[in-house]
C-alpha cells in the first residue's frame, strides 16, 4: 500500500513540475518571441545558395533579409536566372530592378607565347607562392603568372586556362563574385560592367622599348590611343593607358586602331585588336632564357 502511494506522489510531483515548466515556456514564448518575417525563409529558398557574395552581402540569407526589407532589388543576385529573380520580385511585389551584368576582366594579355620568362619556377603550383619568390621568373613584374590560382578559386567554373597559360573568363558563367579579384597576387582582375568594351589589357608601368622587351603585347605608353580618343577618355598615367569609364559612352573602336602592340582592345564577340597591332603568329611557348 505504502509503495503505491509513493509511486502516486512521484507521478503527481513530476506532472505538476512539468506543468509549471510548461507554463514558464508558454509565457516566455509569448513575451520574448522575436517576429521574423516568414517571407525571408521563402525568399531564401528561391535564391541559389551559392553564398558567393556577389550581391555585396554576407550570403544568401543576408541578401534575403535585405530583399524583404526592401533595401535591395532582386536583380542584385547575379547567380540566379532572370526568370527566378522575376519570381522573387512578383512574390515580394517589388520591382525586379535593373542590374548591369558585370564580369571579371584580366588586365594582362601576356600569355607564354608573348611574355618573356628568364627563370623556371619550381615551387608550389600557385601564383601566390611564385609571386613571393623572385616574381616567379617572369620578365614583366606586373603580368599574369599563369599558375591558375584564379581557375582554382572560381566556384562557377567560369575561368579556364588557355593554351598560352592565360585565364579566360566565360562571361555567361561569371557572376562577378570577386573571388578571382581577391586571389590574384598581381591584382590583374577587376569586375567591369559588360558595357565597358574598351579595355587596357596590360599593367606594365615601363616605357617604350623597356616594356616591349619583356612582352610583345605590353602597353608601351606611346599615347596614340589617348590622342585619338575624344575628351580625355583615355589618358597616359605612369606609362600606361588609363580609361576614364565615366565617359564610357564616348568609347569606340577608334581608340584601338593605332595601338602598335594591341595592348588596348575592344571586346565584342571576343577580343579585337587594332589594325596596327603586331600580329602574333607564334603559337608555342617562348623558350626560357
Amino acid at each position: 500500500m505504502s509503495s503505491l502511494s509513493n509511486v502516486l506522489i512521484a507521478v503527481a510531483f513530476m506532472a505538476s513540475f512539468g506543468l509549471i515548466l510548461a507554463a514558464i515556456l508558454v509565457f516566455a514564448n509569448r513575451r520574448l518571441a522575436v517576429f521574423e518575417d516568414p517571407r525571408i525563409d521563402e525568399v531564401e529558398a528561391m535564391l541559389p545558395h551559392a553564398n558567393c557574395g556577389a550581391c555585396g552581402t554576407a550570403g544568401c540569407r543576408a541578401f534575403a533579409e535585405k530583399l524583404v526589407a526592401g533595401d535591395m532589388q532582386p536583380s542584385r543576385c547575379t547567380v540566379n536566372s532572370v526568370e527566378m529573380n522575376q519570381v522573387i520580385a512578383n512574390f515580394l511585389g517589388v520591382e525586379l530592378g535593373t542590374q548591369e551584368k558585370r564580369v571579371a576582366r584580366l588586365a594582362c594579355a601576356g600569355g607564354n607565347n608573348v611574355a618573356r620568362r628568364h627563370g623556371e619556377y619550381q615551387g608550389v603550383d600557385s601564383c601566390r607562392a611564385a609571386a613571393l619568390v623572385a616574381g616567379g621568373g617572369m620578365d614583366c613584374a606586373w603580368g599574369c603568372l599563369g599558375l591558375a590560382d584564379c581557375e582554382r578559386v572560381c566556384d562557377f567554373d567560369a575561368i579556364s586556362m588557355d593554351a598560352t597559360g592565360l585565364p579566360q573568363v566565360d562571361d555567361d558563367r561569371c557572376t562577378a563574385c570577386g573571388d578571382c579579384v581577391e586571389i590574384c597576387p598581381h591584382d590583374l582582375f577587376s569586375l567591369q560592367p559588360i558595357s565597358h568594351q574598351l579595355w587596357v589589357a596590360c599593367k606594365n608601368l615601363e616605357k617604350g622599348d623597356a616594356a616591349e622587351a619583356v612582352c610583345a603585347v605590353a602597353c608601351n605608353g606611346c599615347g596614340r590611343c589617348a590622342m585619338d580618343a575624344p575628351e580625355v577618355l583615355i589618358s597616359i598615367n605612369n606609362n600606361l593607358a588609363v580609361i576614364d569609364y565615366s565617359k564610357n559612352r564616348l568609347a569606340s573602336r577608334i581608340a584601338i586602331e593605332r595601338c602598335p602592340t594591341g595592348a588596348i582592345v575592344w571586346i565584342e564577340d571576343g577580343v579585337q585588336k587594332g589594325l596596327q597591332a603586331k600580329k602574333i603568329i607564334r603559337k608555342s611557348a617562348l623558350p626560357i632564357e
Binding site: 623556371e120 615551387g123 608550389v124 601566390r128 613571393l132 619568390v133 613584374a141
Partner: protein
Amino acid sequence: MNLGALFSAHTFAHGVHPADYKALTCHLPIRRLPFASTLIVPLSQHAGKASIPLVQPGQEVVRGQPIAQADGFMSVPQHAPATGRIKSIELMPSARGPKIPSFILHVYEASTQQELYEYRHDIKTMSGDAIIQAVQDAGMVGLGGAAFPTHVKMKPPAEHHVDVLVANGCECEPYLTCDHRVMLEQPRNLIQGIRLVQRALGVERAIIGIEDNKMDAVHTLQQHLQDAAAISVQAVQTKYPQGAEKMLIKSLLNREVPPGSFPSAVGVSVFNVGTLAQIGELLPHGRGVIERVVTVSGAGVNKPGNYLVPVGTPVEFLLEFAGITDKANEVILGGPMMGMSVSALDVPVTKAMSGMVVLEKPAADTKHAKVLPCIRCGYCINACPMHLNPSMLGMLANSGDYETMQQDYHLNDCFECGSCSYVCPSNIPLVQYFRIAKSINRERAQQGNG
C-alpha cells in the same frame, strides 16, 4: 653528458641540425671586390618607406655622398657606393620580384675611389639621441637579412625598459660565414659599435652570443674584452635557428618574447654583429653604408669566399668574379634555409644581403620532389622552434582556411625559418603554404582597414 650540463646548456627547445658547409669559406679572409662598371642602387633596400632622391640624373657623385634622404622616421638615406655619374633613376628588378625605382650609377673607371665624403663626429661626447640620429644618417639597416632600420630598434617604446643588449653572432644559416669573419677581423669595430649602441639605449650589460662552432671568434673577442666587464661573450649551442632573435634571447637569458611583441618587451635589444661592426666603423666618420661583406659559397662556385662588395653590384658581376661551374643552376640570395632564390642575375647586392649560395642541383627537368600526403609523423612539431603545429597549419592551408590558421593556430608567430619543411618526410612545402596564407591575410586586413 651530465645532468648539470643539460640544464645549463645555452640553447632553446626544438630546431634542426642541417649540415653547415661553413668549412668552404670560414677560413678565407675578407677580400675586396672590384667595382662593376654600373651599379644599381635601389631606393628601397629596407623595411619601411622608400628614400627620396637628392640627386638628378646626369649628376656626378663622389663615393660615400648621400644620394637619397630618409622619408620620415621609418626610412633611411642611401649613399653613393662609388664615384661616378648618375645615369638615370629607373625601375629595376629586385630580388623579390617587383621592379622598384633605383639609381643607375655609371662608375668612373679612372677614379681612385677614395672615400672623400666625411662628417666627423666626436663619439666620446655624443649623446644618445645624437647617436641614434647618426645611425639613421648612415643609412644603417639590420645586416643580418631583415633590413629593418637600425635606429628604430634603438628607440624602443617608452613603456619597455631595455636592460640587456645582445649582439647576435650566431650565423646559424648553413654556408654563411660573413659574420664569423667580421668577428675575427674587426673585433675593435664590433666592440666600438656595441659601446655606442649601449650608450644610445642607456644599457649597462651587453652579451655577444656566438654558436659554439665558432670558438675562434669567441676566443678572439674574449681577448679584446679582457678589461671590459660589462660586455661578455657567450657560446651557445650550434643549432638552427639559433640566430633568430627570439631563440637567442631564450638561449642566453631564458626570457620568452610574448607573441606579437618586439624583444624590447622583455628588456632586450638584439643587433647583428655585422651591423654593430659597421656602426663602430662608420659612425666616427659620419659615413654611410656603401659596402658589406657577402659570403659567396656553394658547390656551384669556383672561388668561394667572403667578399667586401659595394652595395648595388649586380649579382652577375659577383658571380663572374667568383666563377661558377657549368652545372650551377640555382642561385640563392641569403642562406639556403631562409634565403630567396633569384630568377634573374641583374638584381643588385643590397644592404641586407648576407650571402649568395650557388647550388648544383640535379638537372632541372626532374622538377620538384613529389609532395606526398601528411602521415602525422610529428617531425615538424618537434622541429618548430616557436612550438606551433605546422602539420595542422599545412592541412588548414590546403583547405584554404587562412583565418583559422591565424586565429587558432598562431600563424603570425611563424617566422618562416623552414625547419618544418626541412624535416618533412612527405616533402610538403609547408613554409610556402604559410607565406601564401600570410600574404592573403595581410591583404584582407588592409582591405578591412581601407
